[in-house]
Amino acid sequence: MASYSTNEFKAGLKVMLDNDPCAIIENEFVKPGKGQAFNRVKIRNLKTGRVIERTFKSGDSLEGADVVDVAMQYLYNDGEFRHFMVPDTFEQYQCDEKAVGDASKWLKDQDSCTVTLWNDAPLSVSPANFVELSIVETDPGVRGDTSGGGGKPATLETGAVVRVPLFVQQGELIKVDTRTGEYISRVKE
Protein backbone atom coordinates (compact mmCIF):
# COMPACT_ATOMS: atom_id res chain seq x y z
CA MET A 1 0.00 0.00 0.00
CA ALA A 2 1.25 3.49 -0.82
CA SER A 3 2.11 5.90 1.93
CA TYR A 4 0.81 9.44 2.12
CA SER A 5 2.63 12.55 3.28
CA THR A 6 0.91 15.17 5.46
CA ASN A 7 0.42 17.46 2.49
CA GLU A 8 -1.63 14.74 0.76
CA PHE A 9 -3.90 14.29 3.80
CA LYS A 10 -7.42 15.26 2.92
CA ALA A 11 -10.88 14.43 4.13
CA GLY A 12 -11.78 10.83 3.29
CA LEU A 13 -8.23 9.51 2.90
CA LYS A 14 -7.86 6.09 4.56
CA VAL A 15 -4.64 5.51 6.45
CA MET A 16 -3.20 3.19 9.08
CA LEU A 17 -2.66 4.71 12.53
CA ASP A 18 -1.62 2.67 15.58
CA ASN A 19 -2.34 -0.47 13.51
CA ASP A 20 -5.97 0.48 12.96
CA PRO A 21 -7.55 1.66 9.72
CA CYS A 22 -8.62 5.28 9.99
CA ALA A 23 -10.24 7.95 7.85
CA ILE A 24 -9.02 11.52 7.83
CA ILE A 25 -11.74 14.03 8.62
CA GLU A 26 -9.86 17.29 8.75
CA ASN A 27 -6.26 18.40 8.25
CA GLU A 28 -5.04 21.77 9.46
CA PHE A 29 -1.64 23.19 8.58
CA VAL A 30 -0.15 24.92 11.63
CA LYS A 31 3.08 26.82 11.20
CA PRO A 32 4.59 29.53 13.31
CA GLY A 33 6.31 32.12 11.08
CA LYS A 34 9.68 31.22 12.53
CA GLY A 35 9.15 27.65 13.56
CA GLN A 36 8.38 24.05 12.78
CA ALA A 37 5.33 23.29 10.64
CA PHE A 38 2.80 20.79 11.98
CA ASN A 39 -0.38 19.23 10.68
CA ARG A 40 -3.17 18.87 13.21
CA VAL A 41 -5.33 16.08 11.94
CA LYS A 42 -8.80 14.96 13.00
CA ILE A 43 -9.07 11.30 12.27
CA ARG A 44 -11.74 8.63 12.74
CA ASN A 45 -10.79 5.15 13.80
CA LEU A 46 -12.86 3.01 11.44
CA LYS A 47 -12.89 0.06 13.83
CA THR A 48 -14.16 1.89 16.89
CA GLY A 49 -15.75 4.93 15.23
CA ARG A 50 -13.89 7.14 17.70
CA VAL A 51 -12.61 10.50 16.50
CA ILE A 52 -9.23 11.63 17.79
CA GLU A 53 -6.90 14.55 17.16
CA ARG A 54 -3.31 13.84 16.33
CA THR A 55 -0.46 16.14 15.38
CA PHE A 56 2.16 15.28 12.79
CA LYS A 57 5.35 17.03 11.83
CA SER A 58 4.74 18.35 8.33
CA GLY A 59 6.30 16.05 5.78
CA ASP A 60 5.81 12.90 7.86
CA SER A 61 3.79 10.16 6.25
CA LEU A 62 1.34 7.38 7.06
CA GLU A 63 0.77 4.05 5.38
CA GLY A 64 -2.41 3.93 3.32
CA ALA A 65 -5.14 1.55 4.49
CA ASP A 66 -6.76 -0.90 2.08
CA VAL A 67 -10.27 0.20 2.87
CA VAL A 68 -13.05 0.14 0.28
CA ASP A 69 -16.78 0.71 0.37
CA VAL A 70 -18.70 -1.98 -1.51
CA ALA A 71 -22.43 -1.92 -2.30
CA MET A 72 -23.94 -5.20 -1.09
CA GLN A 73 -27.27 -6.82 -0.49
CA TYR A 74 -28.20 -7.96 3.00
CA LEU A 75 -29.16 -11.64 2.93
CA TYR A 76 -29.98 -13.02 6.37
CA ASN A 77 -29.01 -13.31 10.00
CA ASP A 78 -27.95 -16.79 11.13
CA GLY A 79 -28.01 -15.81 14.79
CA GLU A 80 -24.32 -15.25 15.04
CA PHE A 81 -23.41 -13.55 11.78
CA ARG A 82 -25.20 -11.44 9.27
CA HIS A 83 -24.56 -12.34 5.67
CA PHE A 84 -24.12 -9.97 2.75
CA MET A 85 -23.61 -10.48 -0.96
CA VAL A 86 -22.06 -8.44 -3.73
CA PRO A 87 -24.85 -8.45 -6.35
CA ASP A 88 -22.53 -8.49 -9.38
CA THR A 89 -20.22 -11.30 -8.31
CA PHE A 90 -22.44 -13.20 -5.82
CA GLU A 91 -19.46 -13.08 -3.49
CA GLN A 92 -20.63 -13.40 0.12
CA TYR A 93 -19.33 -11.88 3.34
CA GLN A 94 -20.32 -12.54 6.94
CA CYS A 95 -20.23 -9.81 9.57
CA ASP A 96 -20.34 -10.11 13.33
CA GLU A 97 -22.60 -7.80 15.35
CA LYS A 98 -19.64 -5.55 16.18
CA ALA A 99 -19.04 -4.73 12.52
CA VAL A 100 -22.74 -4.31 11.82
CA GLY A 101 -23.19 -2.02 14.82
CA ASP A 102 -26.11 0.38 14.69
CA ALA A 103 -26.87 -0.57 11.10
CA SER A 104 -28.59 -3.72 12.42
CA LYS A 105 -31.74 -1.88 13.35
CA TRP A 106 -32.31 -0.76 9.75
CA LEU A 107 -31.39 -3.95 7.88
CA LYS A 108 -34.18 -5.90 6.21
CA ASP A 109 -33.56 -8.97 4.05
CA GLN A 110 -32.82 -8.07 0.42
CA ASP A 111 -32.09 -4.42 1.25
CA SER A 112 -29.01 -2.89 -0.26
CA CYS A 113 -26.40 -1.26 1.92
CA THR A 114 -22.72 -0.39 1.97
CA VAL A 115 -20.16 -2.68 3.56
CA THR A 116 -16.73 -1.23 4.30
CA LEU A 117 -14.00 -3.80 3.76
CA TRP A 118 -10.53 -3.59 5.29
CA ASN A 119 -8.10 -6.02 3.69
CA ASP A 120 -11.20 -7.72 2.28
CA ALA A 121 -12.76 -8.29 5.72
CA PRO A 122 -15.93 -6.41 6.76
CA LEU A 123 -15.16 -3.48 9.03
CA SER A 124 -18.49 -1.73 9.20
CA VAL A 125 -21.92 -1.61 7.58
CA SER A 126 -23.88 1.49 6.63
CA PRO A 127 -27.54 1.20 5.72
CA ALA A 128 -28.97 3.12 2.76
CA ASN A 129 -29.78 6.74 3.68
CA PHE A 130 -33.48 6.00 3.29
CA VAL A 131 -35.15 2.69 4.07
CA GLU A 132 -38.74 1.55 3.82
CA LEU A 133 -39.95 -0.53 6.74
CA SER A 134 -43.36 -1.55 8.03
CA ILE A 135 -44.69 -0.76 11.47
CA VAL A 136 -45.26 -3.82 13.63
CA GLU A 137 -46.48 -1.97 16.68
CA THR A 138 -47.83 1.47 17.50
CA ASP A 139 -50.72 3.03 19.42
CA PRO A 140 -53.98 3.23 17.51
CA GLY A 141 -54.10 6.14 15.10
CA VAL A 142 -56.12 9.28 15.59
CA ARG A 143 -58.28 9.77 12.54
CA GLY A 144 -58.20 13.24 11.02
CA ASP A 145 -55.01 14.30 12.77
CA THR A 146 -52.61 15.33 10.04
CA SER A 147 -50.74 18.00 11.94
CA GLY A 148 -47.71 15.83 12.56
CA GLY A 149 -47.08 17.63 15.85
CA GLY A 150 -46.34 15.50 18.84
CA GLY A 151 -46.33 12.04 17.35
CA LYS A 152 -45.95 8.64 18.97
CA PRO A 153 -43.37 5.88 19.04
CA ALA A 154 -43.65 3.09 16.46
CA THR A 155 -41.70 -0.18 16.43
CA LEU A 156 -40.56 -1.26 12.97
CA GLU A 157 -40.08 -4.77 11.61
CA THR A 158 -36.32 -4.55 12.18
CA GLY A 159 -36.76 -3.58 15.82
CA ALA A 160 -35.98 0.12 15.38
CA VAL A 161 -38.26 2.55 17.19
CA VAL A 162 -39.02 5.88 15.49
CA ARG A 163 -41.44 8.70 16.22
CA VAL A 164 -44.28 8.86 13.72
CA PRO A 165 -47.26 11.24 13.36
CA LEU A 166 -50.45 10.23 15.15
CA PHE A 167 -52.32 9.33 11.93
CA VAL A 168 -49.87 6.61 10.93
CA GLN A 169 -51.27 3.13 11.56
CA GLN A 170 -49.87 -0.20 12.60
CA GLY A 171 -49.04 -2.34 9.54
CA GLU A 172 -48.27 0.65 7.33
CA LEU A 173 -45.04 0.98 5.36
CA ILE A 174 -43.01 4.11 6.14
CA LYS A 175 -39.86 5.77 4.84
CA VAL A 176 -37.16 6.61 7.40
CA ASP A 177 -33.92 8.59 7.20
CA THR A 178 -31.35 6.26 8.79
CA ARG A 179 -28.86 9.06 9.44
CA THR A 180 -31.21 10.87 11.79
CA GLY A 181 -33.63 8.07 12.63
CA GLU A 182 -36.49 10.34 11.57
CA TYR A 183 -39.78 9.47 9.91
CA ILE A 184 -40.05 10.94 6.39
CA SER A 185 -43.37 9.78 4.96
CA ARG A 186 -45.80 6.94 4.43
CA VAL A 187 -45.19 4.71 1.44
CA LYS A 188 -48.02 3.45 -0.77
CA GLU A 189 -47.68 -0.28 -1.37
Binding site: N7, E28, F29, V30, K31, P32, G33, K34, G35, Q36, A37, F38, R40, E53, R54, T55, F56, K57, S58
Partner: protein, 314 residues
Protein backbone atom coordinates in the same frame (compact mmCIF):
# COMPACT_ATOMS: atom_id res chain seq x y z
CA UNK B 1 -13.33 42.62 -0.14
CA UNK B 2 -11.40 44.34 -2.93
CA UNK B 3 -12.45 47.71 -1.54
CA UNK B 4 -11.54 46.67 1.98
CA UNK B 5 -8.06 45.64 0.91
CA UNK B 6 -7.61 48.95 -0.91
CA UNK B 7 -8.78 50.80 2.20
CA UNK B 8 -6.37 48.81 4.38
CA UNK B 9 -3.43 49.70 2.13
CA UNK B 10 -4.49 53.35 2.07
CA UNK B 11 -4.79 53.44 5.88
CA UNK B 12 -1.33 51.92 6.29
CA UNK B 13 0.22 54.43 3.88
CA UNK B 14 -1.52 57.29 5.66
CA UNK B 15 -0.30 56.02 9.06
CA UNK B 16 3.35 55.83 8.05
CA UNK B 17 3.38 58.94 5.92
CA UNK B 18 2.05 60.95 8.88
CA UNK B 19 5.01 59.62 10.87
CA UNK B 20 7.53 60.43 8.15
CA UNK B 21 8.38 56.79 7.50
CA UNK B 22 9.44 56.40 3.87
CA UNK B 23 7.78 53.87 1.58
CA UNK B 24 10.35 51.83 -0.39
CA UNK B 25 10.49 49.07 -2.96
CA UNK B 26 13.09 46.31 -3.14
CA UNK B 27 13.51 43.40 -5.56
CA UNK B 28 11.34 40.33 -5.18
CA UNK B 29 13.95 38.31 -7.10
CA UNK B 30 17.35 37.87 -5.51
CA UNK B 31 20.66 36.07 -5.97
CA UNK B 32 20.52 34.95 -2.37
CA UNK B 33 17.91 33.29 -0.21
CA UNK B 34 16.92 33.23 3.39
CA UNK B 35 18.74 30.57 5.40
CA UNK B 36 15.95 29.91 7.91
CA UNK B 37 15.75 26.10 8.15
CA UNK B 38 11.96 26.35 8.61
CA UNK B 39 11.34 28.18 5.33
CA UNK B 40 11.32 26.81 1.81
CA UNK B 41 11.94 29.24 -0.99
CA UNK B 42 10.92 29.26 -4.64
CA UNK B 43 13.68 29.26 -7.23
CA UNK B 44 13.54 30.57 -10.79
CA UNK B 45 15.86 30.35 -13.78
CA UNK B 46 17.22 33.62 -15.03
CA UNK B 47 18.50 33.58 -18.63
CA UNK B 48 20.96 36.28 -19.54
CA UNK B 49 23.02 34.63 -22.28
CA UNK B 50 25.49 33.14 -22.10
CA UNK B 51 24.74 32.76 -18.41
CA UNK B 52 21.87 30.97 -16.83
CA UNK B 53 21.52 31.32 -13.13
CA UNK B 54 19.09 30.49 -10.39
CA UNK B 55 17.35 33.36 -8.66
CA UNK B 56 15.23 33.15 -5.53
CA UNK B 57 11.86 34.69 -4.77
CA UNK B 58 12.06 36.48 -1.44
CA UNK B 59 10.58 34.90 1.67
CA UNK B 60 10.46 38.43 3.09
CA UNK B 61 11.95 41.81 2.10
CA UNK B 62 14.05 41.89 5.27
CA UNK B 63 17.56 41.63 3.84
CA UNK B 64 17.10 44.19 1.09
CA UNK B 65 15.49 46.64 3.51
CA UNK B 66 18.38 46.27 5.94
CA UNK B 67 20.75 47.16 3.12
CA UNK B 68 18.76 50.36 2.64
CA UNK B 69 19.04 51.08 6.35
CA UNK B 70 22.80 50.61 6.15
CA UNK B 71 22.84 53.05 3.23
CA UNK B 72 21.26 55.65 5.47
CA UNK B 73 17.62 55.50 4.39
CA UNK B 74 16.26 56.28 7.85
CA UNK B 75 12.96 54.68 8.92
CA UNK B 76 11.30 52.81 6.05
CA UNK B 77 8.30 50.62 5.29
CA UNK B 78 7.26 48.41 2.44
CA UNK B 79 4.15 46.54 1.35
CA UNK B 80 5.58 43.55 -0.50
CA UNK B 81 4.72 40.15 -1.85
CA UNK B 82 6.57 37.31 -0.14
CA UNK B 83 6.78 33.68 -1.22
CA UNK B 84 7.13 30.56 0.90
CA UNK B 85 7.13 27.19 -0.77
CA UNK B 86 4.95 24.38 0.57
CA UNK B 87 2.91 26.62 2.85
CA UNK B 88 -0.74 26.16 2.18
CA UNK B 89 -3.64 25.92 4.58
CA UNK B 90 -6.36 27.86 6.31
CA UNK B 91 -3.87 30.56 7.30
CA UNK B 92 -1.25 30.10 4.59
CA UNK B 93 -0.98 30.84 0.90
CA UNK B 94 2.44 30.35 -0.71
CA UNK B 95 2.28 33.90 -2.06
CA UNK B 96 1.15 36.52 0.41
CA UNK B 97 1.39 40.20 1.25
CA UNK B 98 3.62 41.52 4.01
CA UNK B 99 3.81 44.91 5.61
CA UNK B 100 7.36 45.30 6.84
CA UNK B 101 8.77 48.34 8.57
CA UNK B 102 11.96 49.44 10.31
CA UNK B 103 12.26 52.22 12.84
CA UNK B 104 15.69 53.70 13.30
CA UNK B 105 16.46 54.36 16.96
CA UNK B 106 13.44 52.41 18.23
CA UNK B 107 13.80 49.85 21.00
CA UNK B 108 11.48 46.86 21.16
CA UNK B 109 9.05 48.50 23.66
CA UNK B 110 8.80 51.55 21.40
CA UNK B 111 8.10 49.28 18.44
CA UNK B 112 5.35 47.57 20.44
CA UNK B 113 3.77 50.96 21.16
CA UNK B 114 3.68 51.64 17.45
CA UNK B 115 2.20 48.21 16.64
CA UNK B 116 -0.61 48.86 19.11
CA UNK B 117 -1.26 52.30 17.58
CA UNK B 118 -1.26 50.93 14.03
CA UNK B 119 -3.68 48.14 14.94
CA UNK B 120 -6.00 50.59 16.69
CA UNK B 121 -6.09 52.70 13.51
CA UNK B 122 -6.64 49.75 11.18
CA UNK B 123 -9.41 48.22 13.32
CA UNK B 124 -11.26 51.49 13.95
CA UNK B 125 -14.57 51.31 12.16
CA UNK B 126 -14.51 47.50 12.31
CA UNK B 127 -14.77 45.40 15.45
CA UNK B 128 -13.46 47.48 18.32
CA UNK B 129 -10.42 45.93 19.96
CA UNK B 130 -9.75 45.90 23.67
CA UNK B 131 -6.53 47.63 24.73
CA UNK B 132 -3.37 45.83 23.63
CA UNK B 133 -1.81 43.37 26.05
CA UNK B 134 1.86 42.52 26.48
CA UNK B 135 3.26 39.37 28.02
CA UNK B 136 6.72 37.97 28.24
CA UNK B 137 7.02 34.59 26.54
CA UNK B 138 7.99 33.05 29.84
CA UNK B 139 4.93 34.40 31.69
CA UNK B 140 2.36 33.48 29.08
CA UNK B 141 3.87 30.03 28.48
CA UNK B 142 3.97 29.30 32.19
CA UNK B 143 0.44 30.59 32.71
CA UNK B 144 -1.04 28.24 30.10
CA UNK B 145 1.12 25.18 30.62
CA UNK B 146 2.85 25.43 33.99
CA UNK B 147 6.13 24.78 32.19
CA UNK B 148 9.22 26.93 32.15
CA UNK B 149 10.09 27.65 28.50
CA UNK B 150 13.59 28.85 29.29
CA UNK B 151 14.78 25.70 31.01
CA UNK B 152 14.40 22.46 29.11
CA UNK B 153 13.22 19.62 31.30
CA UNK B 154 12.60 16.58 29.12
CA UNK B 155 10.67 14.89 31.87
CA UNK B 156 8.25 17.69 32.68
CA UNK B 157 7.67 18.40 28.97
CA UNK B 158 6.86 14.70 28.40
CA UNK B 159 4.56 14.65 31.43
CA UNK B 160 2.76 17.66 30.01
CA UNK B 161 2.34 15.92 26.64
CA UNK B 162 1.01 12.80 28.34
CA UNK B 163 -1.48 14.74 30.45
CA UNK B 164 -2.73 16.49 27.33
CA UNK B 165 -3.25 13.40 25.18
CA UNK B 166 -0.42 14.42 22.89
CA UNK B 167 2.07 11.59 23.36
CA UNK B 168 3.04 12.03 19.70
CA UNK B 169 4.90 15.16 20.80
CA UNK B 170 7.52 12.90 22.40
CA UNK B 171 8.23 11.24 19.05
CA UNK B 172 8.16 14.47 17.09
CA UNK B 173 10.23 16.62 19.42
CA UNK B 174 12.63 14.21 21.09
CA UNK B 175 15.32 16.20 22.87
CA UNK B 176 14.95 19.30 20.69
CA UNK B 177 13.98 22.12 23.06
CA UNK B 178 13.01 24.54 20.29
CA UNK B 179 10.76 21.95 18.66
CA UNK B 180 9.01 21.31 21.97
CA UNK B 181 8.42 25.03 22.35
CA UNK B 182 6.93 25.23 18.83
CA UNK B 183 4.68 22.25 19.53
CA UNK B 184 3.43 23.37 22.93
CA UNK B 185 3.13 27.06 22.03
CA UNK B 186 1.11 26.47 18.83
CA UNK B 187 -1.19 23.91 20.48
CA UNK B 188 -1.68 25.13 24.04
CA UNK B 189 -0.79 28.81 24.20
CA UNK B 190 -1.36 30.58 20.89
CA UNK B 191 -5.07 29.65 20.49
CA UNK B 192 -5.84 31.63 23.65
CA UNK B 193 -3.91 34.78 22.81
CA UNK B 194 -5.57 38.10 22.00
CA UNK B 195 -9.27 37.38 22.39
CA UNK B 196 -10.56 40.47 20.58
CA UNK B 197 -7.40 42.36 21.39
CA UNK B 198 -3.85 42.78 20.22
CA UNK B 199 -1.61 40.46 22.20
CA UNK B 200 2.13 40.98 22.00
CA UNK B 201 4.48 38.32 23.28
CA UNK B 202 8.09 39.42 23.75
CA UNK B 203 11.27 37.92 25.12
CA UNK B 204 11.37 34.72 23.07
CA UNK B 205 13.76 32.07 24.39
CA UNK B 206 17.28 32.56 23.01
CA UNK B 207 17.00 29.27 21.07
CA UNK B 208 14.19 30.92 19.07
CA UNK B 209 15.89 34.25 18.55
CA UNK B 210 15.97 33.97 14.74
CA UNK B 211 17.42 37.35 13.67
CA UNK B 212 16.73 39.17 16.92
CA UNK B 213 19.30 40.41 19.36
CA UNK B 214 19.92 38.52 22.57
CA UNK B 215 18.66 40.60 25.50
CA UNK B 216 21.36 42.66 27.16
CA UNK B 217 20.35 41.89 30.71
CA UNK B 218 19.14 38.29 30.32
CA UNK B 219 20.98 36.09 27.87
CA UNK B 220 18.24 33.43 28.10
CA UNK B 221 15.86 35.57 26.07
CA UNK B 222 15.93 37.49 22.83
CA UNK B 223 14.46 40.86 21.88
CA UNK B 224 11.86 39.35 19.62
CA UNK B 225 8.13 40.06 19.63
CA UNK B 226 5.18 38.29 18.03
CA UNK B 227 1.71 39.75 17.57
CA UNK B 228 -1.50 37.75 17.93
CA UNK B 229 -5.15 38.62 17.53
CA UNK B 230 -7.84 36.02 18.26
CA UNK B 231 -5.25 33.26 18.39
CA UNK B 232 -3.90 34.10 14.94
CA UNK B 233 -0.23 34.90 14.50
CA UNK B 234 -0.07 38.20 12.65
CA UNK B 235 3.56 39.13 12.67
CA UNK B 236 7.00 39.06 14.07
CA UNK B 237 9.46 41.77 15.05
CA UNK B 238 12.97 42.21 16.37
CA UNK B 239 15.30 44.60 17.99
CA UNK B 240 17.55 44.03 15.05
CA UNK B 241 20.87 42.31 15.08
CA UNK B 242 23.53 44.78 13.87
CA UNK B 243 26.60 42.64 14.45
CA UNK B 244 27.92 41.37 11.10
CA UNK B 245 29.96 38.58 12.68
CA UNK B 246 27.05 37.32 14.72
CA UNK B 247 24.78 37.49 11.63
CA UNK B 248 27.31 35.54 9.58
CA UNK B 249 27.60 32.94 12.34
CA UNK B 250 23.80 32.48 12.43
CA UNK B 251 23.68 32.17 8.65
CA UNK B 252 26.31 29.45 8.76
CA UNK B 253 24.67 27.53 11.59
CA UNK B 254 21.28 27.72 9.83
CA UNK B 255 22.87 26.51 6.61
CA UNK B 256 24.38 23.60 8.52
CA UNK B 257 20.97 22.70 9.95
CA UNK B 258 19.45 22.85 6.45
CA UNK B 259 22.13 20.47 5.23
CA UNK B 260 21.52 18.09 8.14
CA UNK B 261 17.81 18.02 7.30
CA UNK B 262 18.44 17.62 3.57
CA UNK B 263 16.70 20.88 2.71
CA UNK B 264 17.55 22.75 -0.50
CA UNK B 265 20.84 24.61 -0.21
CA UNK B 266 20.45 28.27 0.75
CA UNK B 267 22.71 30.99 -0.59
CA UNK B 268 23.56 33.45 2.14
CA UNK B 269 23.23 37.12 1.41
CA UNK B 270 26.76 38.50 1.15
CA UNK B 271 25.38 41.96 0.50
CA UNK B 272 23.59 41.90 3.83
CA UNK B 273 26.76 40.85 5.65
CA UNK B 274 28.56 43.64 3.79
CA UNK B 275 25.89 46.13 4.83
CA UNK B 276 26.12 45.05 8.45
CA UNK B 277 29.90 45.36 8.31
CA UNK B 278 29.54 48.87 6.92
CA UNK B 279 27.15 49.43 9.82
CA UNK B 280 23.40 49.62 10.12
CA UNK B 281 21.84 51.91 12.69
CA UNK B 282 20.28 50.59 15.87
CA UNK B 283 16.71 49.84 14.87
CA UNK B 284 13.65 47.67 15.39
CA UNK B 285 11.67 46.06 12.60
CA UNK B 286 8.33 44.36 12.24
CA UNK B 287 6.51 42.30 9.61
CA UNK B 288 2.73 41.85 9.56
CA UNK B 289 0.81 39.49 7.30
CA UNK B 290 -1.82 41.65 5.63
CA UNK B 291 -3.93 38.77 4.33
CA UNK B 292 -4.39 37.46 7.85
CA UNK B 293 -5.15 40.97 9.02
CA UNK B 294 -7.90 41.11 6.38
CA UNK B 295 -9.19 37.76 7.63
CA UNK B 296 -9.54 39.25 11.10
CA UNK B 297 -11.17 42.44 9.82
CA UNK B 298 -13.77 40.41 7.93
CA UNK B 299 -14.13 37.42 10.27
CA UNK B 300 -13.09 35.11 7.45
CA UNK B 301 -12.30 31.55 8.38
CA UNK B 302 -9.83 30.91 5.57
CA UNK B 303 -7.21 32.98 3.81
CA UNK B 304 -8.76 31.97 0.47
CA UNK B 305 -11.73 34.18 1.34
CA UNK B 306 -9.61 37.33 1.33
CA UNK B 307 -7.53 36.58 -1.78
CA UNK B 308 -8.86 37.40 -5.22
CA UNK B 309 -7.16 34.31 -6.60
CA UNK B 310 -5.79 31.81 -4.07
CA UNK B 311 -2.99 29.55 -5.28
CA UNK B 312 -5.34 26.84 -6.57
CA UNK B 313 -6.87 29.38 -8.97
CA UNK B 314 -3.83 31.58 -9.54
Amino acid sequence: MMRLRAQLLADIRQFFSSRAVLEVETPVLSHSSGTDPQLDFFTTDYCSPPLEEGLFLQTSPEFAMKRLLAAGSGSIYQIAKAFRNGESGRFHNPEFTLLEWYRVGFTLPQLMDEIAELMAVLFSGHSALSPAERFSYQDIFQRHTGLNPLEFSYKSYCDFAQNNHAVEAMDICGYDHSLWLDFIFTHYVQPYLGENSVCMVYGYPACQSSLARINERNSQVSDRVEVFISGIELGNGYYELTDAKEQNRRFDSEKAIRQQRNRPVAVKDKHLIGALEAGIPECSGMAIGLDRLLMLLTNSSTINDVLNFPISRA
